[in-house]
Symmetry: C2
Subunit: 361 residues, 2 copies
């Protein structure tokens, strides 16, 4: 329909067609306002309904407890890499689990602001697994433990939160938020760039336990990098990314309509199983991650032959399966199956891969 | 058409109807890609064309010299308030001209990072004028002088750059960029939140002379707050606000089609004159700013009677002239006449005001 492709981009990624259609329909005149959402004053009643609606939906869908604030910010996860140590620093120590390039970047940035330490890493095997940790591995004095739930580039994910013995847990959920239920109360802070499962790039969502929103941060922390600035002003200290928040609200409406995060988990497990099952049985393709660590969202695979990989990507693109090229640090292919990728898209991809396998065996 | 209102919002503000229509038309499938721009990987050829196109158009329309970088950032002008001193600090001193609430906020934030000084202020008269300065007022050792070209809340503007005797000039052009030609070579750095004359909220454009992009900033400066990070990576160190950049490109195409900044200046002067001429001759309404300091973009006015102001705003809103309520610190009304406000919109507003005057004399 509309000559749409199946878009397996790792992010910015596919968005529900219903959301895009609604956004197109409302572009000239949203909800009788006579304006596009893009043209609305962020202080208007019209936009207040949008941002409050988005927050209420996120709270409902993720079952966020009342003692957590939801912040709609800018600057991506990369800004959180600094904001987290800047704002959560108390004892001045933090522990990091390093499971990918982004997890490493978060640690490298944090080092500027807090005495931090890599407790476990899977860098030795190109981040193809999740390292095991025990509660006693972590520093009891650490202000927090940071980990990245789903590693977009490598296609690995944690199976539940690591047991860190009660230390405050901080998590980058950029590429898996809204993909399955999460017990928010186990976290001190959850953050996610919106551009994978929540909406357009340029919006970062932070869910933070209220007691961590502190006034007494170091004086060099910019006002825009203080959680308190945004918490005290309902994410409107300055003009928020209004249109991105609107799209996020539409995405959340769609997730709710589909049955919420339990339903998303089932669909996502079904989609991932379709591809992994084929990969595990294929004579041409193989997955790069072994079963216990496999992501539901990002599935890297290779043929083992660079020329064949390139041929596959070229032919797949021509057939309307786009953005399948793997990250340069892994090579091969990667199919990202975010919430908005329909089951039919994965079925069609597997069909195409079977065909390709037959022709290139 | 489409039951659109005339939107006089101070920001986010009105966007060209042609831009919104094109965005709606391309929402499901941009330029044969089979995707919305929102769904495109920022590393894709598709999006590269968009960001490079936006930069080329901005360079052409503003005649930006080759020794300046154009950066597409997030975080609004409020983030620039910190980034500027963090990155431009060398001697450790800066001078500020204080012509409004935002100019004051920029100074207050800068104080955290640099020894800075208010050289001139119009706070004594609720920022209703632009204070005069002489070159010798400024500190020869200052790393820069900061001013805000157009003051959105108060409706004042500078008439040309202040003569600061050759010190690097830094300017917040959030509410007047693209409204008239500017000699970029007179500036060290120009910044603007996009949500008034360039596109949606969530995009901040920085135009910076290359020699000011330094590596040797203080260690506490977050990687996302270093201009070098963004300059070295073509504004793609992390995922940029892709959709906002796309809309900005469409806006720039429209500005070029209308004849560029010389043409915009003529149209803007015409629109502003229509409203100021009426205000100067009206027996009911009066402008709050005297002639030498008047903004082309934001025109505050009052009746002198709060109840009558409220009645006017209510009736105007009902008639489809929306967002005319003045900022709480000025009161009364404010009509923002950004580039995308058509001449007919101002003519219709003046017609409505004349009617209102007749009925309420």
């Amino acid at each position: 329909m509309n000559n749409r492709v199946y878009n397996f981009s790792a992010g910015p990624g596919v968005i529900f067609e219903d959301v895009l259609k609604k956004a197109a329909d409302e572009m000239m005149n949203q909800n009788g306002s006579g304006m596009s959402v893009m043209e609305m004053s962020h202080r208007s009643k019209w936009f207040e309904d949008i941002i409050n609606g988005a927050e209420a939906l996120l709270r409902e869908v993720m079952a966020i407890p009342d003692n957590y604030k939801v912040l709609f910010l800018q600057g991506g996860a990369s800004s959180q890499f600094a904001m987290i140590p800047m704002n959560l620093k108390k004892n001045g120590k933090a522990d990091y689990i390093q499971t990918g390039v982004w997890a490493k970047k978060s640690y490298q940035e944090a080092k500027k602001f807090i005495d931090c330490r890599v407790v476990a890493s899977s860098e030795d095997k190109t981040y193809t697994y999740i390292p095991e940790t025990k509660p006693e591995d972590f520093n009891k004095d650490a202000d927090y433990v940071h980990f990245c739930y789903n590693n977009t580039i490598y296609g690995t994910k944690f199976n539940g939160e690591p047991d860190v013995g009660g230390i405050d847990l901080v998590c980058d959920m950029s590429s898996c938020i809204l993909s399955e239920p999460v017990d928010v109360s186990k976290y001190a802070l959850i953050y996610a760039g919106a551009q994978k499962n929540m909406g357009p790039a340029g919006l970062t969502v932070v869910i933070i336990r209220e007691d961590l929103i502190r006034e007494d941060v170091e004086p060099y922390v910019p006002v825009m990098f203080r959680y308190k600035t945004h918490a005290d002003n309902g994410s409107m200290y300055n003009t928020p990314p209004t249109y991105a928040i609107y799209i996020c609200k539409l995405v959340l409406e769609k997730v709710k309509e589909l049955g919420g995060l339990e339903a998303m988990k089932k669909i996502n497990e079904q989609k991932a199983a379709m591809l992994y099952d084929f990969l595990d049985s294929s004579k041409l393709f193989r997955p790069t991650v072994s079963a216990p660590y496999r992501s539901l969202m990002n599935i890297p695979f290779v043929t083992g032959d660079k020329e064949l990989d390139a041929k596959f990507i070229k032919e797949a693109t021509e057939a309307g399966f786009v953005n399948l090229k793997g990250h340069r640090s892994v090579g091969g292919m990667r199919a990202s199956l975010y919430n908005a990728m329909p089951v039919e898209g994965v079925a069609a991809l597997v069909g195409f891969m079977k065909d390709f396998e037959r022709k290139n065996a």
